[in-house]
């Protein structure tokens, strides 16, 4: 039976919608900071925890967070995964390690990737530092941070990471 004679079993129904997305106040401030090579978190007025990237609210206390805290771009890996499939916005060779990095001063780890480190050496507690794009390429985007690389500092013991894993 040719295609023309076979019954129709499926139809193509592509869906495409265009939006103009607004980052909101907190994320905009964070991204403006990134454009200046700074990582800005926010501190909860109630529980005092520092969140990064900030969203203008504390998920535990349900209050607005306004106090800005400049954080170091050094941190500790709290968990990681070795990724062998490509991802649209991640522009590093496969396989790579995606990580949660707890920046010094923050109470919430942020997502990134690690480079300049053999995969088998990546571990929880490892100390890392951000590698930024060249100064003239900085912009209000997390892509201003290319990745994190290991630094020569002693590992943070597991029991100190327990709450943030």
């Amino acid at each position: 039976m040719s295609d023309e004679q076979k019954p129709v079993t499926n139809i193509k129904t592509p869906m495409r919608l265009e939006y103009r997305y607004s980052a909101g106040i907190a994320t905009s401030r964070f991204l403006h900071g990134i454009a200046q090579g700074k990582i800005l978190g926010q501190r909860c007025p109630s529980c005092k925890k520092v969140y990064v990237p900030p969203r203008g609210s504390c998920p535990r206390c349900a209050v607005a967070t306004e106090e800005e805290v400049e954080l170091s771009d050094k941190g500790t890996i709290t968990t990681y995964a070795v990724v062998r499939v490509p991802s649209e916005n991640i522009d590093v060779p496969l396989p790579f390690a995606s990580v949660h990095v707890l920046l010094d001063g923050a109470d919430l780890p942020m997502f990134s990737v690690v480079q300049e480190c053999p995969l088998e050496k990546i571990r929880m507690g490892m100390r890392v530092q951000a590698v930024w794009v060249p100064k003239e390429q900085l912009g209000p985007t997390l892509q201003s941070i290319r990745y994190f690389k290991p630094i020569d500092e002693p590992d943070v013991p597991a029991d100190q990471l327990r709450e943030t894993v």
């Binding site: 129904t13 909101g24 203008g56 609210s57 998920p59 349900a62 209050v63 607005a64």
Partner: protein
């Protein structure tokens, strides 16, 4: 049936376009409703209404949870619907005895996308959505059918808009309001014939929250609780060509089940995002001349998506609290041409 009352209500000031993110819009609204309720967190149940399609982001509603304070973990649910249906779910939860208090919130940021086009994605995906009929054009199909059946005119529709815009002058949350005359409105071009701009709800971004409390506790925290004496919702067939668009059979049935006709109605807040839908809903609910319709101005003066139905309930409750009504009807709708409708009857003590 357990006694459940609405004890507080708060809404964001609606804006045509909000640049704050959803949590930033919602948080002060939830905080206000919670503060006014006299109930301290945690609530036994939290339920919200919103639509990911408005923001173009799957699971977007999860990010709004910060406003509810989900630590320690809370019993929570979400409907991809107007918050009026989140209120219904919370009411059911309380009826089962699994909760005594509930926080209900809703939000909608329509400004990022082209709302009438976004709403085409809620249609039958095989034979309707691929044509991308916008929501205003579909409402206009119903408007024409109603005008031709009843013999009413575009002037009659404009009069509904004029009344709504005038009443909205005292509503700080309306995005359009004022004194307009019918002739000026009718001189404007069609947006989707036979509907003009004043016939369709103005798109805006907003949020609202409500607190429900069961039994005597409601009397302890609220001077004059707005008791939910009946609540029901019904849905019609999906295909527009199978429905009689000139009547709202689902509103009529939901109203009967909720008990609209049991006693005199003082005030009705009807979610009619298009002017012709107000008389259709009035007829379905049997609301005659003695009923005050949409003292808030209704959806024709502010239409935060996924929220405007919950706001109708909140506005009706407000009339109970302030003593201007003893019995109020609140209505919410969802889907093209009044496909799905919820009716809620509120009474003072």
């Amino acid at each position: 049936m357990r006694d459940v009352a609405i004890v507080s209500f708060a809404q964001a000031k609606n804006h045509r376009r909000e640049l704050r993110n959803e949590v930033e819009i919602l948080m002060p609204v939830v905080q206000e409703a919670v503060a006014r309720s006299g109930i301290a967190r945690p609530f036994d149940f939290t339920c919200s209404g919103s639509s990911d399609f408005l923001q173009g982001q799957p699971f977007a509603f999860v990010m709004a949870l910060d406003a509810a304070g989900a630590w320690p973990p809370i019993a929570e649910s979400h409907v991809e619907m107007d918050g009026a249906w989140a209120l219904y779910e919370a009411w059911v939860k309380i009826q089962t005895g699994q909760a005594e208090t509930a926080l209900v919130y809703a939000f909608g940021k329509s400004s990022p996308g082209d709302l009438p086009e976004v709403l085409a994605t809620q249609l039958d995906p095989y034979v309707m959505a691929p044509l991308w009929p916008d929501s205003v054009s579909l409402a206009a199909l119903q408007a024409r059918a109603w005008l031709e059946k009843t013999g009413k005119s575009e002037r009659d529709l404009a009069e509904i808009a004029v009344r709504s815009l005038r009443d909205a002058k005292t509503n700080p949350n309306a995005t359009v309001s004022g004194d307009f005359d019918v002739a000026t409105l009718l001189a404007a071009p069609y947006v989707a014939a036979p509907l003009r701009e004043h016939d369709s709800a103005p798109i805006c971004d907003g949020a609202a929250a409500v607190v429900l409390v069961a039994g005597d506790r409601a009397r302890q925290v609220c001077k004059r609780p707005a008791w939910i004496r009946g609540i029901d919702h019904r849905i019609e067939a999906h295909a527009l060509g199978m429905r009689d668009l000139t009547v709202s059979a689902s509103t009529r049935l939901a109203g009967e089940k909720a008990g609209v006709g049991k006693a005199k109605v003082d005030v009705a807040e009807l979610y009619a995002p298009f002017s012709h839908q107000e008389p259709i809903l009035r007829e379905a609910l049997g609301l005659g001349a003695g009923v005050t319709i949409n003292p808030s101005g209704g959806a024709l003066t502010a239409n935060p998506m996924m929220t405007a139905g919950l706001i109708r309930i909140g506005e009706a409750a407000t009339r109970i609290w302030d003593g201007s009504a003893q019995r109020a009807v609140a209505h919410a709708t969802s889907g093209p041409c009044l496909q799905q409708n919820l009716v809620c009857i509120l009474e003072g003590e």
